[in-house]
Symmetry: C2
Subunit: 209 residues, 2 copies
């Protein structure tokens, strides 16, 4: 197996943390996003979507959606379980992980990618160029704030995101809350439940990655 990573980027951090929580040892290749290595011919053969993370599986296939990599790692290394154990737990992990990605991650990314000077014409990741849409940046920011409220409310009723157990939904949540800091959204005041949870999950050794 091989894990294509890029140290400062948020999406591959999901996989870095997951690999550490599973206690797996997978060789890492750093991809130089700053210099556009992900858009070059060589990397396109690995992932035509031009994104990291990518996992080269034992079978030699390339997975480049974080949810698919989570699934693969859970299947080949079920212990410790990070995607729930009962049917309902498994569904709740899927639901929250998905929500966090769609309502949280994409909202922050929209706010960031539609304003950053270095991302002109790169409003969406991938091989195609798309111009920035200023209204979308504004909407993304508003949606990101709404989502932090939703997560704060959820964590007022639940120790971890998907229930009383740590899961990939917490990993994705941690990554998104820290990513929200990139657009200056700060949870240290006004989000008591989110802060309590963020302190707890950030204290795990895997969170340093």
């Amino acid at each position: 197996m091989k894990f294509y990573d890029c140290q400062p980027a948020p999406s591959p951090r999901r996989i870095r943390i997951c690999i550490a929580e599973k206690g797996l040892d997978i060789p890492v290749v750093q991809v130089d996003l700053r210099n556009g290595e992900h858009l070059g011919e060589a990397f396109r053969k690995i992932n035509p979507q031009c994104t990291v993370p990518v996992l080269e599986t034992r079978e030699g296939e390339h997975l480049w959606e974080s949810v698919a990599i989570y699934r693969y790692l859970e299947e080949i290394q079920p212990d410790p379980p990070l995607m729930g154990t009962t049917p309902l737990e498994k569904a709740m992990v899927t639901q929250w992980d998905h929500r966090i990605e769609i309502e949280g991650f994409y909202a922050v990314a929209e706010a960031l990618r539609n304003t950053a000077k270095g991302m002109r014409n790169r409003a969406i990741t991938g091989p195609e160029n798309y111009p920035q849409i200023p209204e979308l940046a504004e909407r993304g920011r508003k949606r990101a704030v709404t989502f932090l409220r939703v997560l704060d409310d959820r964590l007022g009723h639940s120790r971890y995101v998907a229930g009383d157990f740590y899961s990939v939904a917490d990993i994705t949540g941690l990554v998104v809350v820290d990513f929200a800091g990139w657009i200056k959204l700060d949870i240290s005041e006004g989000y008591p439940n989110l802060k309590r949870w963020h302190d707890e999950v950030s204290a795990r050794p895997s969170a340093k990655l």
Copy 2:
């Protein structure tokens, strides 16, 4: 269990087909989206996101993300498997189902919701109102076309979306290709692989639902 459905809407169709393929018999409640039942107080208690599909599980919890409902149904009724059987198959189903939702479904929805007269201020589903962004409609249409090309290419190498087996990725794919018809994207010419596959999956009894 209980399944909250709305007959003409695309997302709940994913669940209608999945339930039929699993041979499950789950009581159905029709939600009247046209008259705004999903935005009313009673339905908000079932799903604060104000969307269908919703599955009330055996434990009495409500799941309202299609991927979470797929997962739950796969766990309680593993036969026939619709999410792969090996680790790699499971990961490929997850990857393609996710891609189709993000790159296909959301692109078509963006094109539709940002132009339809009846959807002013409803550019995103959910409890919050968001105004339409015309540039986003245009971008959504372009992305939807790009995605149909990606899927056509994929199906030139694979009988079904995730491999040589039928899965929820085919269900989501079928729903998205038919949904693309709502914005007048037609695959009957110029997409030979997609058409071959669409004819095959559309011939299954579940596809009539």
